[in-house]
Assembly symmetry: C2
Homo-oligomer: 420 residues x 2
């Protein structure tokens, strides 16, 4: 067996053992450790910034700039934000051992459905070094062991953050392997790691489409995908057009580079001529490129480029918008189910039936009436923290926070019952 | 593209369309259709038995006998039981559109977490033709489209049941593709089907270990495994030994061929000499072969064969039992987590701390104190029906019934909210 494979097996096995050994750690110990991790981050500030400078010069030397550098950089403000986020996680209720439901059976068996940690979670991620602290905090609080594998572009930063947080475990007598990191830069490491389904219970890729595809393809560990967001707003014939304009503008422009931003706008044909001119004007003023179907082009004239079929399947993550005029509510729903990514979709309408019809028939994680798709977010949903937004349907759908990092088990209390 | 592939794509796409079209079918229509399906089964009794006779003669011609034939055979009693099970499913509450939780955010957004069908579920199964009716009933009630692929040994029986149930859909104006079956006997069909993750949302294999392994290996559709049950009972030093004997006997002997039967018995060394002699005697009388470690052999003498390491990892599904004497509670827990299959494990004890320690540290779907592992079952847990017992940790764990065949979505009601 190769050294790489051996090393990864011992890492993963160590994580599984640590998870089992930490199964009964009480909430107050975990919360105290989280607050200490937050303090350790601030205490190691200079070291983290020094490490980050190494990553930044390597990135610049490799010709990286703009958004890439912006995502990579760590300054005092960002380190404070990471620390504050750990404080927030400490303050959230512990999901572990919560009794979800309970039933007393006629034979006297008392059956509790109880939340439990999943086990060992591998996080494969890119760029932003703050993911390191967030994932450690959320996995640790929910009783899971975490194995981190960040991108090589941030390796010094990730390591410095990891060292600061992990150092706290020993002080509390907790197994250090609750938090581990794949150190080798060998590109085969991820592939080998994700074969170890006897030790690793869940893999979560966080990053671009190509990273997610690569993880899904090679993993024999179950994966929860945080895939692309092709989000729609549908302006219904019964929409308050003023409200529709505000919602569409917000969904597209407020932060175009994120997964819950609108990528495609659908407009009912009966309001298209009244709605589109002012809307297009506002978008153009904000620098939004518009790609529309024939009717949208007719209304918007030279302000609207021709949309190709592929545009309706594209996550631009940029100031570009595809637009389509549809004949009926049902056409809008069918379009979204066919072209969307089942992430977040909104209808603007004052019609009761149309609202419910849309919310029930659109097969997406989050469906809205009269609100911007930009609200799909753990914080905005009141979950207090977020490890990602699942576009899968199994286990977790939509924003994932502490509860979504748990499974459950049945604890059955008897007094001698046997099956007849 | 091959004809097989084309046929399967059109089958799977049809199922996905049917699922979407049936998304708003109310519970009373579904329940009326289920009762009609039950009636259709009874009405088609003669036809089903005729079809079953074809399968039975083919099986006998192939030299099959005993348990294989027993599982395959359909008589009036079994058809009535299938019909009664559909009646039961009709009487269960509809999980779809149940509001799991609800939150009003400070900005006025009203967020409902609502249960929703998963979509298209493929069931790959063997032998027992009653699985056909059960799976159709449970998937239909929970709003999912189902694609069935039974074993060739039961193909005439499965087809007759399927035809009877499916014929009801048209009467209610429901899309017939809500229920479909892979008809070809081509062995490549399963492999091709499970590549269609754009149309199929979940695959559930039901059958032996080799079937499950084959499905997991080839599937790009998410799989929930119903894997083997290596279930333990641990007789603690604080056990009521009389109760322990009754529980162990029940767990092993009452129905040895099922996944929640005990395969391995662990005994604390301090009670081994008092507990084992009478227990072994009772087992021997019932025809149970005992394979034990050195201490068990010493106590049981010639009544106990030598257990090899592999015995502790074996699901016998038969009147065979592995036995081990352990030094501590923690040794028992570690053994179960290492050798077990995370299915169902029980401790017999009168010690409060030991009970909780066992229930929290044993990483299994169902953990018991002072009861037989045989209770791990949807019916026994009060779920009213069961589609299987998941040994996975994600999405569903333990007995799976209607609720476990659903996902959820967030329905967000606003009045013009945009993100700041």
């Amino acid at each position: 067996m190769s050294t790489l494979k051996n090393d990864l097996i011992s890492l993963a096995k160590g994580a599984q053992d640590a998870f089992r050994n930490a199964l009964t750690v009480p909430s107050d110990i975990k919360d105290a450790a989280l607050l200490d991790m937050s303090a350790a981050l601030l205490y190691s500030k200079a070291e983290i910034i020094r490490a980050n400078k190494k990553d930044l010069s390597a990135a610049r030397a490799a010709g990286r700039k703009g958004a890439f550098i912006e995502r990579l950089v760590l300054d005092e403000k960002r380190i404070k934000a990471m620390a504050a986020s750990l404080d927030d996680i400490a303050a959230l209720p512990d999901p572990v051992d919560e009794v979800i439901s309970s039933v007393r059976r006629p034979n006297g068996l008392w059956i509790h459905k109880v939340r439990a940690p999943i086990g060992v979670i591998a996080i494969i991620y890119e760029s932003r070094p703050n993911v390191t602290a967030d994932c450690i905090g959320l996995c640790f609080k929910s009783g899971n062991a975490v194995i981190l594998r960040g991108g090589s572009e941030a390796r010094h930063s990730n390591l410095a953050i990891y060292n600061a947080l992990r150092s706290v475990l020993k002080k509390y007598g907790l197994p250090e392997a609750m938090i581990s990191m794949v150190m080798t830069q060998d590109h085969k490491a991820v592939k080998e790691l994700l074969k170890l389904n006897q030790y690793i219970d869940l893999a979560m890729p966080r990053g671009g489409e190509s990273l997610i595809k690569a993880v899904v393809e090679c993993s024999s560990v179950p994966v929860i995908k945080h895939y692309k967001g092709i989000c729609h707003v549908f302006v219904d014939e019964w929409a308050d057009l003023n409200m529709a304009q505000q919602i569409c503008f917000n969904a597209k422009v407020q932060r175009p580079g994120v997964c819950n931003a609108m990528e495609s706008m659908l407009v009912h044909r009966d309001v298209a001529a009244r709605f589109l001119p002012a809307m297009i004007k506002q978008f153009k003023k904000a620098g939004v490129e518009i790609r529309g179907d024939v009717l949208t082009q007719k209304i918007g004239q030279r302000a609207v480029k021709k949309a190709r079929e592929a545009d309706y399947r594209t996550e631009y993550l940029d100031l570009i918008l595809s637009v389509k005029v549809v004949n009926t509510l049902r056409d809008a729903i069918d379009h979204i189910n066919e072209y969307g990514s089942h992430h977040s979709d909104s209808i603007v309408t004052d019609n009761y039936q149309n609202s419910l019809e849309f919310m029930r028939r659109v097969d997406s994680a989050c469906v809205y009436t009269n609100a911007s798709t930009r609200f799909t977010d753990g914080g905005q949903f009141g979950m207090g923290a977020e490890i990602g937004i699942s576009t899968d349907k199994l286990h977790a759908r939509g924003p994932m926070a502490l509860e979504e990092l748990t499974t459950y088990k049945y604890m059955v209390f008897g007094n001698g019952q046997v099956r007849q």
